[in-house]
Symmetry: C2
C-alpha cells in the first residue's frame, strides 16, 4: 500500500469521484484519496473486493451507460478520475463498434455531465501499453507516433483527443496518464487484467503457466502503488503537459516474468503452455518516463522483485481464503 508522503498533495475536503472505483486501480486510488483527506465517491458496476475499499468511500453502484446514474454521481464533484474502459486490451473477440459505443461515447457523455456539474478537472487513465502501437524506438516518449493495434488503444487515444477538445471548447481541465502494464494486489487473475496476476495465480497453485505467443514480447511493468501516486500528483499538477507516461521505464520479457514468478513462488520450473499470439500485441513496449519525473516529484518507488514478492503474498493469502 502507498505510504502517505509529504511529496503528495493534501486534498482535504476535496470532493473526488472515481469512475471505475470498484476495480483494481479504482479501489487503490479511492483509498489513497481518502488518506490524502479527500471526500471520495467511487462509481462502478461492481465491487470485486468490498472489504478492501476504505469504509469512508461512498460506493455508488451503477452502469456507465446510464446517464442519470453518472450525473447523480458527478453532482458536486471537483475532480473526476476516469478509469473506466469498455473493453479489455487484446481481447480476441473485440468489436471496435461496441468499444466505441461504450468507452468513447460513454466518455463524451461523462464529459458533458462534468461540464454541467462544473467539475474542475478530469484525470483520465489512458494506456501507455496500447496507444503507441508498434515502434522500434525505446523507451517511447509521449511525442512518439500513435498507431494503436487494438480497439482498446484507438478508443483511449480518441478519448485523449476529445479531452483536449473539451478543454479547448469548454475549459475543462484534464490530464491523461498513459499507464504501462500495472500489477499488484487486488488485480484479478481471472479477468485478463494482467499477466502477472494470471501467472502468479497459476504458479501458486502449481499449474502450468499460459503464455500468449513466444513469451519474448517485452512489457513495462509498473506497481499499482506507483500508478496511484501518479494519479495523486495529477490531481493538483498545473504545468503545461496534459499527457504523461507512467511506467517503470524498463522492459521485461514475459518469459522473464515467468521465471521471476517461479523463483519467488518457489515452485521450481513449471510447465509453460504457449498459446497463439494475439493481433493486438506489439513486440516491445517500454515507456519513457522522463517527462513525469521532470514535471512532478513522481518516481517509480517499487522495485520489480519487491513488488512481485508482495503481490505473491497477497495472491497466496487470496488463495488460502478461498480454500477456507
Amino acid at each position: 500500500m502507498l505510504i502517505a508522503n509529504t511529496d503528495f498533495p493534501r486534498l482535504d475536503g476535496t470532493r473526488c469521484l472515481v469512475m471505475g472505483g470498484g476495480g483494481f486501480l479504482g479501489v487503490h486510488l479511492a483509498n489513497a484519496l481518502i488518506r490524502q483527506g479527500a471526500v471520495v465517491r467511487a462509481f462502478g458496476r461492481s465491487l470485486a473486493n468490498p472489504n478492501e475499499l476504505d469504509e469512508r468511500v461512498h460506493w455508488s453502484c451503477g452502469h456507465f451507460e446510464d446517464p442519470a446514474a453518472v450525473a447523480e454521481a458527478a453532482r458536486g464533484q471537483e475532480i473526476v478520475f476516469h478509469l473506466l474502459s469498455g473493453s479489455v486490451p487484446g481481447h480476441p473477440g473485440q468489436k471496435p463498434t461496441s468499444d466505441l459505443e461504450t468507452s468513447v461515447l460513454g466518455t463524451l457523455r461523462l464529459l458533458d455531465i462534468c461540464n454541467v456539474a462544473a467539475v474542475r478537472r478530469i484525470v483520465f487513465a489512458s494506456s501507455g501499453g496500447t496507444v503507441y502501437g508498434p515502434t522500434d524506438r525505446y523507451p517511447i516518449p509521449e511525442a512518439a507516433p500513435t498507431d494503436p493495434m487494438s480497439a482498446y488503444g484507438v478508443g483511449k487515444l480518441a478519448i485523449e483527443k476529445y479531452l483536449a477538445l473539451y478543454h479547448h471548447l469548454y475549459g475543462l481541465e484534464y490530464f491523461a496518464l498513459r499507464i504501462a502494464n500495472a500489477y499488484g494486489p487486488l488485480q484479478s487473475p481471472l479477468k485478463r487484467q494482467g499477466v502477472v496476476a494470471a501467472m502468479l495465480d497459476h504458479a501458486l497453485a502449481g499449474k502450468p503457466l499460459e503464455i500468449w505467443g513466444t513469451g519474448e514480447i517485452v512489457r513495462d511493468f509498473v506497481h499499482i502503488d506507483d500508478v496511484v501516486s501518479a494519479f495523486l500528483l495529477a490531481a493538483t499538477y498545473d504545468g503545461p503537459h496534459r499527457v504523461m507516461n507512467v511506467g517503470s521505464g524498463t522492459g521485461l520479457s514475459i518469459n522473464q516474468v515467468a521465471s521471476d514468478i517461479e523463483a519467488i513462488a518457489g515452485t521450481g520450473h513449471l510447465e509453460r503452455i504457449y498459446r497463439a499470439g494475439r493481433a493486438a500485441d506489439v513486440p516491445v513496449n517500454i515507456l519513457d518516463i522522463s517527462l513525469i519525473t521532470r514535471e512532478t516529484p513522481w518516481q517509480p518507488q517499487c522495485a520489480w522483485h519487491d513488488g512481485l514478492r508482495s503481490t505473491a503474498r497477497w495472491m497466496a493469502a487470496r488463495q488460502s481464503a478461498r480454500l477456507v
Copy 2:
C-alpha cells in the same frame, strides 16, 4: 472538369461506391470514375445537383445511419470512396457526441459492412484542414502532431486510426487523403461548405462579404479537380503510405481571397462584415504535399487564379439560372 489523363489509372469495369456521392466532392468524383471506365454507384441523403451527375452513375438515395441501405449499396463493390461526414467543421453548435455517433460510429459500421462484402479497398476523405490543429510549423507534413480543435477533426482522426486497426485486424486496404480547403464548381454557397463559394456568391450578387474573425487566418485552397485526381490515384496506389496530404502547398489569407474574388468578379471593393472568430479556426493551415507528389504522379494542376475564375463563371451561371 478533370481531363482524362494517361497518368490516371484506367478502372474499366471496377465496381466503385461513392459514399456521399450526392455532395460537392462526390459528384465530381463519381463522374471522374465513370470517365476512367468504372462502374459507379453513388450513395447519399440527397443529390444537390441532379443534372451534374453523369447519367451512367447509379444513384442510391439513403441514410448513412441505415445499415441495411448501406449494406445494399456496398454489395459487390470493389472500392469504396468514403466522403461522408456527420458534421460541418467549425459549426458553432457542434456537439462532439452527435458527431461521434453519426460520423465515427457510422464509419465503423460501414467498415464492418465492407468486410462482409469483401470490399478490397476504402479511400477515405480525411481533413488536412482540421486533423493537425494549431502548429507553428508550415507547411504541415503528415507526421506532424495531430491535435484537432473541432469535433469534426477529432472524428476524422479517430476514423483514420480505426481504418489502420481494420487493416491490421481484418486486412482491409485503406488510404486516407487529408484534404485542404477544397473549392470549385458545385460547391454550395449556403451550406458552410467553403468560404470561396460563400464569398463568390455574395460578390456576384453585390452583397457584403462575411468574414469570420479578422480575415488574417491563412488556408490552403485546392481546386476540386485536383482533389478528384488524388482520389483516382489512391484507387490503385500500392505503396507503403496510408495517409497523404492533398492541398496546394501554399497559403492565402481570407482577406486575400476576398480581394482576389473582388478582382475576378469585377465588383470593386465590397463592404466586409467581420464576424466573431470561431473556436475551431486555427490561425494557419498550409499542407506539405511532398509525400503525395513523390509517391504518385499527382501534382496540383489548377492554379488559384484560373480555378477561381472558372468557379466564378460557374457561380454566375448558377445565379442566372436561378433568376430565370
